[in-house]
Every structure is written in C-alpha cells, then in structure tokens.
C-alpha cells in the first residue's frame, strides 16, 4: 500500500576529498591534506544512491520524502553537494566556517550533529535516517559515523551491503533492515528509525548525473551554515578545539624497485630461493 507509507526524511553525509587517483600530500602547520584536485568521495556516491532509492520507493519528493546532502568543509567543498544534487539529492547543506579547518573526528561529528538537527527541524528534530559511506577516502578513520550516532543517540548500522526500510503493518513502526558481511560471518540487522546507516560499495550501483539532473540541480537550494548558525563555540572545533592533534608528518620513503627477472621457466624456483634468503619460509 504505497500511499500508506509515511515519507522519510534522509540526510546523506557527503565529502569533498582529494582524488585518490593522484598522489596526495599533507602540508602546513596542522599537517592537513592538500585539497586541490578534489571530488565527491567515491564511497559517498553509494550512500546517496541508497538514500535516493529508499525515498523513490516511497514516492520520492512528490510524496513528501526529503533527501538532503550535507557536507562540512571549505568553499570548494560545496562541489560535493552540487554533485550530489546533480545525481538527485533534493537539497543541500554546506557548513563553512573559518574556524573549522583542522577539526578531528570528534569536532567534525559535533558540528555534523548540530547540522543534521538544523537541516531537519531547525535544530529540534532528528531525520529518519542519516546515511554515510563506509569510510572517507581521505581521513580513513571511520570514526565520524559512529561518533555522530553516539552524539545523536541514533541506532547505528555500519557497513551495510543491503538496505531496506520496512513498515510494520501491525503497530505502524518503521524499521531499517540491513545485511552486512564480515570476514567469517554474514549478519542481518534491524533497527527502529531514527537510525544511522553506512553502506559499502556493494550496496548498489550509483547513478550518473544526466543532462536533466544537471539542469535541475541549478534550481535546487544549497543552504550555507556557519558555526554561529549552529550555536557552536569556535573554540570547540579546528585544531585547538580537537581532542587529537598531529605533531609531525612525513611521506613514507618511496619504495624503490628491487630485482626484476623475466621467467625463463624457473622463476617459481627463483621466487622460493628469494623467500628463503629473506627468511620468509
């Protein structure tokens, strides 16, 4: 019964990250990442696709569903939101404040938690779902989704490879169901809404923005928020407000090529000789 399903309010976390196709660099006093050549994190495309599919299954924007792409970062980070709007997100939110650079996961999750509430009900409410990628492809700590779940007191399902929202006909409760695959087992999971879900790159095939999507994106709203809008003290964020600090960083010495041989029919034996000489067998 399509019409009986209540619409979902979904916030998707998106991030503008340096393209991993190229070498990446840390620089400056805070050892922060050089963010030129940045793109929408590939792993966030799966999160957005998952959100769009859930909303479309319930009638999309016309039926009152909402899909908001949310990012935090400097001026150029809005490009991640714009790409998300081209792919189909209904609206965007960009948190941009001069105090933010150098924020660690704890400070980032503090700001995102306030922004999620702001994006939904002017600070009062929670969305039905927060959807994130399995990891950012820059910081790679995987801390932010779990910390956001903790701060917002949301049930957390991470690394989902399948995802559905199910309406329980008996008591009207809405739950999210997911599957995830560990190394030694596969689990099915269920959480009541509101919940936070992170999805893997197995969850779906993200759509490409088409011409219609690109044109439509120009008319969509991107709300820019400052820390003041969110009621956050700048002393709680940035390098000074973070709970961790980077004291030093250095590129790993480049690996140099070692011995290269061409197989003359005995390379397998030569390999074993090499492993024996390295005391690896």
């Amino acid at each position: 019964m399509q019409e009986s399903k209540r619409p979902l309010n979904i916030v998707v976390l998106v991030k503008h990250v340096p393209d991993a196709q190229f070498d990446r660099h840390l620089s400056g006093p805070g050892h922060t990442l050089d963010r030129s050549d940045s793109i929408l994190s590939e792993l966030d495309e799966y999160a957005l696709e998952a959100a769009l599919q859930l909303a479309e299954a319930r009638g999309g924007q016309a039926a009152g569903n909402m899909v908001t792409a949310l990012t935090m970062g400097p001026e150029a980070a809005v490009n991640a939101v714009k790409k998300a709007l081209q792919m189909g997100a209904y609206q965007g939110v960009h948190i941009n404040d001069a105090a933010l650079p150098g924020s660690d996961a704890a400070a980032t999750s503090l700001v995102l938690a306030a922004a999620v509430r702001h994006a939904v009900g002017g600070g009062s409410g929670l969305p039905d779902l927060v959807v994130a990628g399995m990891s950012s492809t820059d910081g790679e700590t995987s801390l932010v989704p779990a910390q956001l779940a903790e701060r917002l007191q949301l049930a957390q399902i991470t690394f989902a490879s399948e995802l559905e929202v199910h309406d329980d006909d008996d008591d009207g409760a809405v739950v999210v169901r997911a599957r995830r695959d560990g190394d030694s087992y596969s689990e099915t999971l269920e959480a009541p809404l509101p919940a936070l879900v992170s999805v893997t790159d197995q969850a779906n095939d993200p759509r490409y923005p088409n011409f219609k999507g690109i044109m439509a994106a120009k008319k969509k709203t991107v709300t820019v928020l400052s820390l003041q809008d969110l009621g956050i003290d700048p002393a709680q964020v940035g390098q000074d407000g973070s709970w961790t600090t980077v004291a030093a960083s250095a590129p790993r010495p480049p690996r140099s090529a070692g011995t290269i041989i061409t197989d003359d029919g005995t390379a397998g034996v030569a390999l074993v000789d090499y492993l024996a000489a390295q005391k690896l067998i």
């Binding site: 991470t158 030694s184 596969s186 290269i260 390379a267 397998g268």
Partner: protein, 314 residues
C-alpha cells in the same frame, strides 16, 4: 604505575596474535588490564596473566546482542572504573567504532591505525593509505588508541600475573541495532586478511581462476587477497579486497599475482615489509614498488613456487 586498559572481544584460546600484541604494547606503557565484553573462562584468564594482566573487567550480566552500542557502554564504564592512562583496541571496523563511541562518551580523543605507541603516549600512525606517517597526540581525556596488527612482536611477561576479576554493572546502551540473524561462512582455516603475516593476492590476471593463489597462500600459511577488479568480477568474495576501498594490510610478505598495481591497490599494501609481484606486463606499475618482481605467467610461476616449497619441506 597507571594501568593501560586493553579491550579484547572474545579472547578464546589460543589468544589471537593481535590480542597478544596489544597486551605486549600495554605492558610497555603501564600495568596491563583487560576489558572483556563477556565473562571469561579461567584458562583464558590464566593466558592473559601470562602477559602480565593484573585485572580483568567483565560485565555483570550478558550484554545485549546489538551492534557496537552495548560494548561501547561497557568499555566506557570499565574506563571509569579502571582510570587507566590509556585505552588500547584492535583496528577492526568494530573495534574502531567502539573506540569512536567511547571517545564521545568520555570526551576523549581517539587515534586509529596506530603502528606504535611511545611511553609518552604519542602515537605513530600511517595515513593516506600508507603513503604518509604521522605522529599524533590525544589532547583531551584518556587517549583511546586502535592499533594495527603486526605492529610489535608479542612477548609474554617475565613473571606471570594472576588477574583479578572485576564485574561491572553496565550503563544502558541507548538505541541500537539488533542482530536478527548470523550465518557463519565456510571456515577456510586461513588467517584473517587484516592480521595475516603473509598474503597472496590475485587480480585481473587470474582470469577467474584463484586456485593457484589459494594453493600458494595455503602452503605459506597465508591469507588470500584480491584486487577490486577480481572481486567485482565475482571471482572471489568481496571481503578479500585489498586497497583504497577495501582493506589496508601490512603483512611481512605480500605476493601480488596478476595485479597491475593501480594507485588504489598500491595504497592498500605499500606498508608490507616485502612485496613480490608477478605479472605478464613488464610495464605494470606494481614493479615500481616490488622488492622482487617476476615478469611471467602467473599460471606457471605460482604452481611452480608452491610445488618447490612442498618439495623443500618434505
């Protein structure tokens, strides 16, 4: 001396190498104590004692079978009880999430992917998929640190301790996802990819046949890895994927078979101690970082190596 609390989930016997590594690191920093989310058998307690563990914190009852939230609530309670100088966890996805939530509960900084922890609790970690090394510090609360496997050589204590059990009443976990079903996968007998000391990984060049990769991995006691091309093609399960969007690994030996070595793949394994690469294409980028490279056909080189190892051992 202040304690260092190590979170160990399900430490069956023998104690996994990764757990023994954490206990060894903890002993170098203070007096090791363990927080275990379920009650431990006496023989496990004794095995922990051999690593110098003086106290084991356990929940008073059975924790609910929910994702992360209950374990995080328990560990936060254990930290409040133990008042340690630092908290150490493994670097698995779940351990990092437990660390993440404990950090918020205790206003404590969390550092992941540690490869070394100094006596002053400054942490060396690898970042940007192993292309950089950084030194970090926690500047708020009790440092919560997740440590990568293969970071130290595990060593028992000079004198074993007799750990004291301390049972904790655990705070409410808050909203959480329930586990509604769990299917064990076929047990391969191989080590976990993220903890393995030897990994043999196959890529596009395996052309759908991972047999030679698996046979060499088994004769070396190693794990099987794969490039994204190989997992996307369905030749091997997705959890075997090494690289930017899969697992980052740092084994003693990484053998790359039929993988060209695009930057994302390299990113996942460039902290391996020794890299061996086998590829038909002499221009494959993987040869730029290989300690030992073979330009040749994986279907002749791998079986020959497997056979040679078996011959030398017999």
């Amino acid at each position: 001396m202040a304690s260092v609390l190590v979170f160990i989930d399900v430490p069956g016997l023998p104690l996994p190498r990764a757990s023994r590594e954490l206990l060894t690191i903890a002993r170098g920093l203070g007096e090791p104590a363990v927080a275990s989310p379920r009650a431990l058998d006496d023989d496990v307690l004794q095995a922990l004692g051999a690593y110098g563990v003086g106290a084991v914190y356990e929940p008073e009852g059975v924790l609910p079978d929910v994702l992360v939230a209950a374990k995080a609530a328990f560990l936060a309670d254990a930290v409040r009880a133990a008042e340690p100088a630092a908290v150490l966890l493994g670097n698995s996805f779940e351990d990092r999430e437990v660390a993440a939530r404990v950090g918020v509960k205790l206003n404590s900084g969390v550092i992941t992917d540690a490869v070394a922890v100094a006596p002053d609790l400054s942490v060396t970690k690898s970042v940007l998929a192993g292309s950089y090394t950084s030194t970090c510090r926690v500047q708020s609360g009790v440092p919560v640190i997740t440590v990568k496997a293969n970071s130290v050589e595990p060593a028992p204590a000079d004198a074993p301790a007799a750990p004291e059990r301390r049972r904790l009443a655990v705070s409410h976990a808050g909203p959480a996802a329930r586990v509604t079903g769990r299917t064990e996968k076929r047990v391969s007998g191989r080590p976990e990819l993220s903890e393995a000391r030897v990994i043999v990984a196959g890529g596009r060049g395996m052309d759908g046949n991972f047999g030679p990769v698996e046979e060499l991995a088994d004769v070396l006691g190693g794990a099987v890895g794969a490039s994204r091309a190989a997992t996307d093609a369905g030749w091997i399960e997705h959890s075997a994927q090494v690289g930017q969007t899969g697992k980052t690994v740092s084994p003693q030996l990484y053998i790359s078979a039929g993988i060209s070595g695009a930057i994302q793949q390299k990113a996942g394994m460039q902290t391996a101690k020794v890299i061996v690469a086998i590829n038909k294409d002499p221009d494959a980028p993987v040869f730029e970082i290989a300690d030992f490279g073979i330009v040749g056909d994986v279907f002749s080189v791998l079986p020959q190596a497997t056979e040679e190892i078996q011959k030398r051992r017999s």
